[in-house]
């Protein structure tokens, strides 16, 4: 029982590590079209990449500080919302990240076929 719990913990930690990098790529890709936090979260969840708000908002702020996103406060449905979209630099970085991801994917597929 304890071994089962431990192995599921290990799996969960590894899964989180695997997802962490992918989530950044997914957020950048989603923000090719402007969205605010809540709709972005829903969109990611609908596409199978659920992300909790405690992770998403700090990530958005970090990406904005790094110059990959730009944001703007705007009123919509009588409420002020912060809209994010990819910056010029963000687009270039996203392109490179996608190329890197494809390269990793291809290498992994090759290794799995060899095994």
């Amino acid at each position: 029982m304890a071994t089962g719990t431990k192995s599921s913990e290990v799996l969960e930690n590894l899964r989180m590590e695997l997802r962490r990098g992918c989530l950044i790529v997914a957020v950048l890709a989603q923000l090719r079209s402007e969205q605010y936090g809540y709709t972005l979260r829903k969109a990611l969840a609908n596409d199978g990449l659920a992300i909790d708000e405690g992770t998403l908002y700090p990530l958005l702020r970090r990406l904005e500080t790094q110059g990959l996103l730009v944001s703007q406060w705007r009123e919509e449905d009588k409420r002020n919302k912060r809209f994010y979209r990819l910056s010029g630099e963000g687009e270039s970085i996203l392109k490179q990240l996608l190329a890197e991801w494809e390269s990793i994917n291809a290498s992994l597929n090759k290794i799995l076929q060899e095994a």
Partner: protein, 355 residues
């Protein structure tokens, strides 16, 4: 109807208040410059979630449902912490070194402190009378309070030093500059450094010459102004320490020629250390000073001085005993280690070698 409406309005007011309280608690932990921005966005997100749920249910959420949403978001301090840059008093680069230093401090400072305290309490009647006069429980409490203070100061100082190092490391990255060539050579725990054997050999020979030249008689000092005479038991100590020094010099010579520990030599070292510890313990308890005479000192005064010196030496007994036990444990561990070493570890040794 009006009752239901009044209850709904009160529940909605409570829900809003709960939300505001939550946002206020998160705001408290945020840096001032970002408070407004982060709280506005968090508030908007929470309102969007509540609104979506209300649309799905076709009614306003009650206080319990709002509470569930806030609980799912997490404790305010944790929510705020996610917006802050990752900080640590001692970071992952220095942390293993910090742990190592803490262990060294505990082993070399606190453990001997405890052992000496136990030794003094068990073996020194004057120390016990001084500290356990109001009972053993009070003595233990007072001992442990002193230990906690010592531990707090020692470990606290290490922590402060490392937090300063961490700060300097983040500013200058001095730990990035390292050279593999400067790493220490591979250590073989069974090897006896030849330099150590040479030092031991020379020290023992120098000691023997000095010992024979100066300590062979009972008269320790013989000047016109003062004369110190040791008790007759001194001759046992003289010959015993001389013999011990000769044996140690011989062992150092063998260790130089064959610089790897064997069970026999490690056992020999245990025996010599055991003998030295016993001799020292006996010596401090033996009232070694027999007589002191001085030109301008009265007989009563010299007796008093003699007694004070002998008593002071006797008081060192618990400390010597504890030190002796520690040395013997180290020697015993060496025998255990050599006995259980894998053959590959004992490289350079002739398997059939006796010494």
């Amino acid at each position: 109807m009006s009752k239901t409406s009044s209850r709904d309005s009160s529940s909605s007011r409570n829900s809003t208040e709960l939300l505001d309280r939550y946002l206020q608690a998160v705001r408290f932990w945020l840096p001032k410059a970002q408070q407004q921005d982060i709280i506005a966005e968090l508030s908007e997100d929470l309102h969007s979630q509540i609104e979506e749920k209300e649309t799905a249910l076709g009614r306003s959420l009650n206080e319990a449902e709002i509470e569930a949403i806030l609980k799912q978001r997490g404790r305010p301090v944790l929510v705020a912490n996610r917006y802050l840059p990752q900080r640590s008093l001692i970071g992952p680069v220095l942390f293993p070194i910090y742990c190592f230093v803490m262990k060294v401090v505990a082993l070399c400072y606190l453990v001997p402190w405890v052992l000496v305290w136990i030794g003094m309490m068990s073996l020194s009647s004057s120390y016990r009378a001084q500290h356990a006069s109001s009972g053993w429980f009070a003595a233990i409490v007072s001992g442990w309070s002193a230990l906690w203070l010592t531990a707090f100061l020692a470990l606290g100082t290490v922590t402060i030093v490392f937090s300063v190092l961490e700060y300097l490391e983040t500013q200058s990255g001095f730990l990035e500059n390292w050279n593999p060539r400067k790493l220490p050579p591979v250590r073989d725990p069974h090897q006896i450094p030849r330099s150590g054997s040479v030092v031991e050999l020379v020290a023992n020979v120098v000691f023997e010459i000095w010992w024979i030249g100066n300590m062979s008689t009972r008269v320790l000092l013989n000047r016109p102004e003062i004369r110190i005479v040791l008790s007759p038991v001194w001759r046992y100590f003289f010959w015993s320490f001389l013999l011990l020094a000769l044996v140690n010099a011989a062992l150092a010579g063998v260790n130089f020629a064959r610089p790897y520990w064997t069970v026999l030599r490690a056992s020999f070292r245990l025996v010599t250390d055991c003998t030295a510890a016993a001799l020292f313990c006996w010596m401090v308890k033996a009232a070694l000073i027999a007589e002191i005479t001085g030109a301008n000192i009265s007989a009563a005064r010299t007796v008093e001085i003699t007694n004070v010196i002998n008593l002071a030496m006797a008081r060192a007994f618990p400390i010597l005993l504890v030190a002796g036990v520690v040395i013997l444990l180290v020697d015993a561990y060496r025998i255990f280690r050599v006995k259980n070493a894998a053959p590959a570890q004992l490289k350079g040794q002739v398997p059939a070698a006796v010494l």
